[in-house]
Amino acid sequence: MIVDRVQLIAIAVIVTVVVAVGYIRLGDRGLRGLLPRHWYRRSVPWLFIGPAALIVGLVLVFPGISTVILSFFDTKGTNFIGFDNYASALTDPITLIALRNTALWVALLPTLSALVGLLIAVLADRVRYGGLVKAALFLPIAVSAVAAGVIWTFMYDYQPPVAAQTGTMNALLTVLTNTDPIAWIIDEATNNYALIAATLWTQAGFAMVIFSAALRSVPDELLEAARLDGASEWQTFRHITLPILMPTVVVVTTTVTVIALKAFDIVYVMTNGTYGTDVLSTVMYRELFTARDNGGAGAIATMLMIAVLPIMIYNLRQFRREGQGV
């Protein structure tokens, strides 16, 4: 079974590489032979961008537009019902809880990722075992979200106070503070934060890597000059390093904001939205696959898309500005 799949993957890789190289080489040669030089130069970018544009159009633009269209139709997509799906989504108590939680995710996850990532990136460079710390923070990136959900389900495991605590968090809690264990992902006071913390574990490493790379771009002469002028370490960081890192902070927070808006796997695996932990994506998933309501799911997807768009546009602009700056 596994052998079959490895074989299939190998064939897919080989075919893709051969086709891609063939397309570019033959296409380039063909255009050069067929078209006058002036037209050739104009059309060559389209040759290169063509496949990517086609794929993006096919798997992103087309489904995106049809999702928006579907959101104005009923369950099976046959009758136009205007904004009814949006109205019922915005009055449904479960969707409202999901909206509240998604807002919480968007507020906490990017902030915490940036803070933890920046902190570790800056501090790890100053100690000898910094590499080890970075590696420990970086490794969870390689863990799939579902696996992370399962791992953290064990971490948050709850046993009654009379029994031995098998969950890491509760074992620590009961030993260190001598209080009763907490049902982290059931107790409504903690569960949303517990889920966000689990996601943070998978995302902080990403932020740290980006910040580590960006820190290399801070000129040593500037830092040295500041220190010579008597600036404290905090002042150097606050007035030299941080302003230079600002564009990176923006990139990291916007990227993680989009991840927070898309949050699904961890919630689905750990609570499936029970005990008030629903986020917009889990509600959308249930609308689509349980209620089989294409319109309702489309409306929630469209709302998510509208929420993501400004962030993406801002991000793109930021990229472009940086590109011009160099």
């Binding site: 074989q7 080989i14 029994a163 049902a183 059931i186 005990y275 696959f289």
Partner: protein, 442 residues
């Protein structure tokens, strides 16, 4: 460039090497009467010839349950040369819907969600098995009520492949001191309340089950409703003709609620909510026992002995059927089970479904020790597992046998019911609101 060539050459070699390892060695065929009979039945189901080829099947089974089910299919594969590619997923509904809409549905499906399957049947996705297998064959092998359960518009969209008897109390005979043949639910609960008053927690309850969390509570409430409000009401309720806010449903929730109070439950409600259902019995075997009785269907025996293989049936693990909730409706039993439906009409899938409808396949299923066979022609004497043997006796003695209602409902309602099981266990005071929430999904 040279490097790239070397690398790709190594890659290709590796692929060739791996594919050479792929040829499985032929396994020896089991040579017992049941397997031999099953091979003959399989060959007949395939029209007497070795068809070869393959059939894809989508279902929810995994782990040891899947191994047990595949052992039933093995003689079929051996006799017909048809390879059954079983794909197990806990996200059954989503996967099936995606594949149906993508034009790549599995040939055959197996699932306990009968209500969900009836939605697919109404859309015309599932074939009418009375035409595939033959109405006479179905009538000869399955009870009218089982056929009726998996029918819509007079078309049989599913045949039962496994049956579980619900409403059993699992206990450890070496430590349990309560009644094993209680006359009524009230008698059992009186004993449980006394235990609780003495500071011992009688009930083992565990409701966590990933995306399906809460189903053990829903099944429990479902059975209480069947046997407390009577089969007629239960049937109307399952068909969506009675509101969730009706007094009967309320009473069923409340009867369940009496078992899941803080004093009655091992570890209190938080433990019940956060413990996986498969772990429900674990505290029963601690020293001293954390709880002593667990309400669950026949399959729980297999789940418990999977994790604690040292348990001896009858000595350290046993069950008794839950007594009547209401003397007006005596001897009623609830069942649940998986049905098999067919989407693609191929020679191979037809052969598989025909095979699964035979008593020979049913006998093999009974021999797995995991499930009861739904087949009328499977003798009660074939059960080697002491629990299943007893369960089949209980079924024979029952005054009436009915399917659990939540397996027949649309999935949105089932989801809401599962969630309600959790919410009610957590906040019993919110019952009105909880029932109104399920009612709103209809």
């Amino acid at each position: 460039m040279q490097k790239v060539r070397t690398a790709s050459a190594m890659f290709v070699t590796a692929v060739l090497f791996l594919s050479a390892c792929g040829d499985a060695e032929p396994e020896e065929q089991a040579d017992d009467p049941a397997s031999n009979a099953a091979r003959e039945a399989a060959l007949e189901a395939a029209g007497g010839e070795e068809l070869g080829g393959s059939v894809s099947m989508l279902g929810l089974l995994g782990g040891e349950e899947l191994d047990a089910f595949l052992s039933v299919l093995k003689p079929f594969e051996e006799a017909t040369g048809i390879e059954v590619q079983y794909e197990g997923t806990r996200d059954f509904a989503a996967v099936l819907q995606t594949r149906v809409e993508g034009g790549n549905p599995p040939d055959v499906v197996g699932t306990p969600a009968i209500g969900e399957m009836s939605a697919f049947a109404e859309e015309g996705t599932l074939l009418d098995l009375s035409e595939v297998v033959g109405q006479d064959v179905l009538d000869a092998n399955f009870s009218p009520s089982l056929l009726e359960t998996a029918s819509v518009n007079d078309e049989v969209f599913g045949i039962f492949s496994t049956v579980n008897l619900g409403g059993l109390i699992w206990y450890d005979p070496s430590t349990y001191e309560g009644p094993t043949e209680p006359e009524s639910w009230a008698e059992l609960q009186t004993w449980a309340a006394q235990e609780a008053a003495d500071g011992r927690t009688p009930w083992c309850v565990a409701l966590e089950s990933g995306a399906a969390s809460g189903w053990p509570a829903a099944d429990f409430i479902d059975e209480i409703l069947l046997r407390q409000a009577g089969p007629e009401f239960h049937q109307r309720w399952a068909a969506g003709q009675e509101p969730w806010t009706s007094p009967e449903v309320r009473a069923a929730f409340e009867t369940y609620g009496e078992t899941v109070t803080e004093d009655m439950l091992y570890g209190g409600t938080t433990t019940a909510l956060s413990t996986n259902f498969a772990e429900a019995a674990t505290p029963m075997f601690a020293d001293p026992p954390g709880c002593s009785i667990l309400q669950q269907a026949t399959f729980m025996g297999g789940i418990i002995t999977d994790s604690m293989p040292d348990l001896v049936p009858g000595e350290t693990l046993d069950f008794f059927p839950v007594p009547d909730y209401d003397p007006a409706y005596p001897g009623i039993r609830s069942i649940s089970g998986e049905i098999v439906g067919m989407i693609n009409d191929t020679e191979q899938s037809t052969a598989l479904v025909k095979y699964l409808a035979t008593p020979e396949a049913g006998t093999l299923l009974a021999l797995t020790g995991r499930w009861l066979s739904p087949n009328l022609n499977v003798e009660d004497s074939v059960y080697e597992d002491p629990f299943l043997r007893r369960a089949s006796e209980v079924l024979v003695e029952a005054e009436g046998t009915y399917s659990l209602g939540n397996s027949l409902m649309p999935q949105t309602t089932v989801d809401a019911f599962w969630k309600a099981g959790l919410d009610y266990t957590q906040n019993p005071g919110d019952l009105d609101e909880i029932l109104a929430t399920i009612e709103a999904t209809r």
